[in-house]
Amino acid sequence: MSTDGWELVIGLEVHVELDTRTKLFSASPNRFGDEPNTNIDPVTLGLPGALPVLNRHAVELAMRIGLALNCDIRPSSFHRKNYFYPDMPKAYQISQYDEPLNVDGWLALPDGTRIGIERAHLEEDTGKSTHVGGSGGRLHGSDYSLIDFNRAGVPLVEIVSRPDLRTSEQSRQYVTELRGILLAVGASDAKMEQGSMRVDANVSVRRPGDPLGTRCEIKNLNSVRSVGRAIEYEAARQITMVEAGDTVRQETRHWDEGDGTTHTLRTKEDADDYRYFLEPDLVLLAPEDEWIDRLRSELPALPAERRAALSEVTGKATDSEAVIVVTERGQDSYVLAVGEAGGDPARALIHVKEAFAAFGDEPAVPAQDLAALTRMESAGALTPTQAKAVLAEMVAHSGGDPEKIAADKGFEAMDTLALETLVDHVIKDNQASWETYCAGQDKAIGALIGAAMKASRGQADGKAVTAVLRTRRSTA
């Protein structure tokens, strides 16, 4: 199935649970994984006479998200979205409707592409139903259903992108980038597998330049990977239909992770009339300028800014895998610290994964020790292979003096000048291979490296030799 000649138009709706101590409208704990129906109260259960009181911290986290997504923060209101469902205690959800808190922002993908953010609004989560018996854990046909109201009233922010995404890869990047932003501002733990970050995708296809096609909304995307897979499947499904002369029906579809397909959940005709109206139990939410300004000034460095900083000191592109991954893991500040301690950030970028390996969140090796190691490498005192061995030793002992470790191991590397002289000899002695390599046949480099290793009697480092050969070719 080819998408050649077709353009995908994708918009994502992302629900994130805010990391607050209590619920959006009551004092019950907002905590995942507790015994069912223990984090409840009259408001959560929608008991007669209970009234909602807005959680200020939830508003603050929602505003942080808005600011991080370059949104305008506006005076906003809450509406009731009315529909019956057993895990909806009041039979309406309190949500923001035509006056959302955050509007008109954007998120930049790592390559700089800006994806528009239409809105990011506050709403309450529903309870969680478990359907027992029947087939497939669905309400229809089940023997009975259990409801856990612990999740009911948990604060959510729904972040709605504009239909600016064009590929499944961009969509994955968007979700990953958004997750990084949510973590950076401390708004959510954003765990897709636990449901604290949930993604719905609106997908349509068209011939480039044509008006928008009919979209389908895909639900149940529980990982970044399934976001990509589901979009690819759905786009292919729609293209097949249109190419066969059928029309795409606007509907909500369910992604089945098991068989890798989407299937109809409900059609537009089945859609509820939610009978939205202004929630009379709450007042308008109009954050004062001082509050907004304070939050703006307190905003931490976001992933894009951190990637730029990392790129600058390491010389790697902002959208290179190393820069993206190290920033995502929150290890970028360590690389910068190695640079500040007089080390080589580019080499630190290579070693950072190893340096964190033992503990995950915290580096096993102090930045100044890694800085010393990278200095030895830069000076040619260690080959990269030897440097790895020394680092392993440092990780095992939570740091240490790399010079002493190298000496103990009896490492001595050829210095850079000696290596370059050696390589120049090899080039001179292997002119045929060199010319083939310079003509663009990269495989020819193998013969040259082999000759260099032989000439040095194994003392030379393969990668270092490769690097010198590449430099020579590029300046030839």
Binding site: P52, N82, P86, R275, P280, L282
Partner: protein
């Protein structure tokens, strides 16, 4: 009778009267006449006796139980009481016992009041006669063949019959003031947000407000000062303390500008109109200045109300779905269970309003109905604001008629809705209003006069109400 609530509280606080003795007086009257009147859904005699004994013990130990020490009170049965059934006079809440007290219940208790029982109402406060109750109608103590008004008919009748000294009702479109007028007692609808709604079972959230019934204006003021004041559990509660009403009652009305609404919708009976004219004369004689004002949108209040209130009700009452509490009628699948439960649990008037409200909010109809009603609501507030540039208070009849016979209007919902013509606009504006007994009309039945005031102008409103009361009792 046992005298005003203020006298009871004073006597109990200084030890000259016993709360237990006071209570027994009231319980004796309940024993004698409640079977005929049916003001209560439940009488909590044992709990009240314990509570009264505790109050006496507190006083004996030198403590002060508070400004309502030993005062017997009744609560409309749409206010949550911990562990005590709260039915809204509906089958759908059968068996439900709230796990918490409404803020007003808590405040009454903190002030030393003794809760004697929970009173009958039109189901979910929808009605003007207390005939729409799943537990049968309440009768008017002045003439038991007639209605007490509604929806807080039980609370009004309980005070009028001497079953309690004071009571609480709720007023969405006149549900305190109209029964107060028909039962010959004082009934106050405070400014929206003056009294917490936390624990009041919602009918129409943007209009509902709790207020007191009492035999005297002073008692109504005393209770209002106890229950009013900011409550963080209600986001629409006004963040300021209760207004001080203790000194205004004796200030008189010299120089007060009292407005007569010249374009008031017609329809009041001549005996009622006659009492309004008499009230205006009384106030003029007492030094007030009578001014003519116009409130053109007043006449559209009823229509706007019967879109806004049902719309909110359709949403507020959606939670009675049989899933978590109250009645459940089993069925083979969820939607059928909802339908069976709600068909069985709700009475006709409630169903009528749920359907009306659902329709008014539906896609394609919202703008023509609910949206337009909201615009009228703003117009009414604007018109009142203009009128209050010329007047400090406005005077109208409370109800177009005196108490009508039981059954007279049950088959004609629209005739029933007209009962609230004069009370509804203040709810839409959020303003306070009070109905004060002002003599009698046809059949020697009580007539009430309504004093309307701008937002949070309760002190001025009570000044005028006290003057009317003095004219009647002197």
């Amino acid at each position: 009778m046992s005298g005003p609530a203020s006298d009871i509280a004073m006597g109990v606080r200084d030890g000259s009267r016993s709360a237990v003795t006071v209570l027994e007086d009231y319980l004796a009257r309940i024993d004698a006449r409640e079977p005929r009147i049916h003001a209560f859904n439940v009488v909590l005699a044992d709990e009240a006796r314990h509570r009264a004994a505790d109050i006496d013990a507190l006083v004996a130990n030198g403590a002060d139980p508070g400004p309502l020490a030993g005062v017997p009170v009744a609560l409309k049965d749409n206010m949550c009481t911990r562990g005590v059934p709260t039915t809204c006079s509906s089958k759908i809440l059968e068996g439900w016992r709230p796990p918490y007290d409404a803020t007003v219940v808590h405040r009454l208790s903190e002030a030393g009041a003794v809760v004697v029982g929970k009173t009958n109402l039109d189901e979910f406060a929808m009605g003007s006669s207390t005939e729409n109750s799943a537990f049968g109608p309440t009768r008017n103590p002045h003439d038991p063949t007639r209605v007490p008004g509604g929806s807080s008919g039980g609370s009004a009748a309980a005070v009028a019959a001497g079953f309690v000294a004071v009571s609480l009702g709720s007023d969405t479109g006149g549900s305190i003031r109209q029964p107060a007028a028909l039962c010959g007692v004082v009934g106050v609808k405070p400014s929206y947000g003056a009294v917490s709604r936390y624990g009041l079972v919602a009918f129409a959230s943007s209009l509902d407000q709790i207020g007191p019934f009492a035999n005297t204006v002073a008692d109504a003021a005393l209770v209002l000062q106890v229950i009013a004041g900011h409550d963080p559990a209600d986001s629409t509660s006004i963040p300021q303390p209760a207004a001080d009403l203790s000194d205004v009652l004796t200030e008189g009305v010299a120089g007060v500008r009292v407005g007569r609404i010249v374009d008031l919708p017609s329809g009041a009976d001549p005996d009622v109109d006659e009492r309004l004219e008499a009230a205006l004369e009384t106030l003029q004689t007492a030094g007030a200045k009578i001014v003519d004002v116009e409130v053109p949108a007043f006449t559209y209040g009823l229509t706007a109300y019967y879109l806004i209130a049902p719309a909110e009700a359709s949403s507020n009452l959606a939670r009675y779905d049989g899933v978590r509490y109250g009645l459940r009628v089993d069925a083979t699948e969820t939607n059928a269970m909802y339908a069976a439960t709600r068909a069985e649990g709700f009475g006709d008037e409630v169903k009528r309003r749920i359907m009306l409200g659902t329709y008014a909010l539906s896609a394609g109809y919202y703008d023509a109905y609910y949206g337009k009603a909201l615009k009228v609501r703003r117009l009414i507030a604007d018109d009142f604001e203009r009128a209050y540039q010329h007047a400090d208070v406005l005077l109208t009849p409370t109800s177009p008629t005196v108490a009508f016979p039981i059954g007279e209007r049950t088959d004609n919902p629209f005739a029933m809705y007209l009962c609230d013509t004069y009370t509804i606009p203040t709810n839409l504006a959020g303003h306070p209003a009070v109905s004060v007994p002002f003599g009698t009309g046809a059949g020697r039945l009580p007539v009430g006069v309504q004093v309307l005031a701008p937002m949070l102008a309760e002190p001025m409103m009570f000044r005028v109400a006290a003057e009317l009361e003095r004219a009647v009792t002197s």
